[in-house]
Symmetry: C3
Subunit: 139 residues, 3 copies
């Protein structure tokens, strides 16, 4: 079984946001898959996808503070500055955290760990709506 | 062909550990696959998976020292501290290094480079046993 | 449909290089795939793959400068130094940026965003030719 859909996430403020429910709602066909994988891919270069703790709001805050310090906006040696001080830092964070997730599917569900949630990492101050492609492969 | 299994890795100390052999032993069915992929997924948020050099023990030591300095335990601004000083740093390192690997399968084997090994990155001081889901897709 | 090929990239200088066209040229079979994924895997531990902005040359320069500062060559505590001062830093950067990309395929093409290009991240001063395995799975 091959199933693919493209969804648009509502604009989020800069930071880390759990989107597990939005992913699940986009692939109801997963209920028919006994064994497989889901690939989630973000079609941008200033936002990324990761997995992390799905309960504590402090994890999201700490992630944001850490990555904002690790990759400051507007570093003095940046040459790519035309699109604003948060653009080049967003490109770097995106490559560091990654553009896609591949998650196993087992018995009709995403086989995530108990504490795992899917995160949208919005690295721009005003990133706008973000496009994702979700591909389900399985039997 | 779709094959999936879930395995539990014995507890490892904090650090980087080669687990290539354990992965291979869990998917003996790979011998029947001419072309495909294997997805290896870790069901936790404080340990991760990567690939790196499979011979020199110094690479593992240097990786550990580097990432421990890059993401120190117990940074003063961390708010997520209830689970101990090594918990939030573990969450950050896990997102940085990633939760899954997708490796090509060719002629019945993982098609890794000569020097590539699969690493478990244990970021907690006492992380305990770790669960992996391994999914093989191919023909 | 399962298709796999192994290609060798010409040696590149240390830095970030767009290789989207070389990937596309290696998988002309993609035109027959309506829904699927492509996995691109690099068989080395001192070079990596990522996605980033495909127009501005400054993005590539800034990426290189940033990662060279974040992971300096020849850190005083590195023990893995036999292969030269740029070897251990290359191993770390490779794990940070990752060894493989999984990109959706839609209607016969890589379904990348408008500004996304595929990057080879060459972390060694003289990395030589690099081997990639490209696997196409779809229908």
């Amino acid at each position: 079984m091959y199933y693919q859909t493209e969804i648009t996430l509502n604009p989020r403020p800069r930071g880390f946001h759990i989107i597990t429910r939005e992913i699940e709602n986009a692939i109801l066909e997963i209920s028919k898959v006994k064994i497989g994988i889901v690939n989630i891919f973000i079609k941008h270069t200033s936002a990324s996808l990761t997995i992390n703790e799905n309960v504590s709001p402090e994890v999201k805050t700490d992630m944001q503070n850490y990555f904002n310090k690790l990759v400051p906006d507007d570093l003095p040696y940046f040459e790519h500055t035309l699109e604003g001080p948060d653009d080049m830092s967003a490109h770097i964070k995106s490559s560091m955290l990654g553009y896609s997730l591949t998650i196993p599917v087992t018995d009709g569900r995403l086989n995530l760990g108990t504490w795992q949630g899917i995160y949208l990492c919005e690295h721009r101050n005003h990133g706008g709506a973000r496009r994702l492609v979700i591909t389900l492969i399985g039997e």
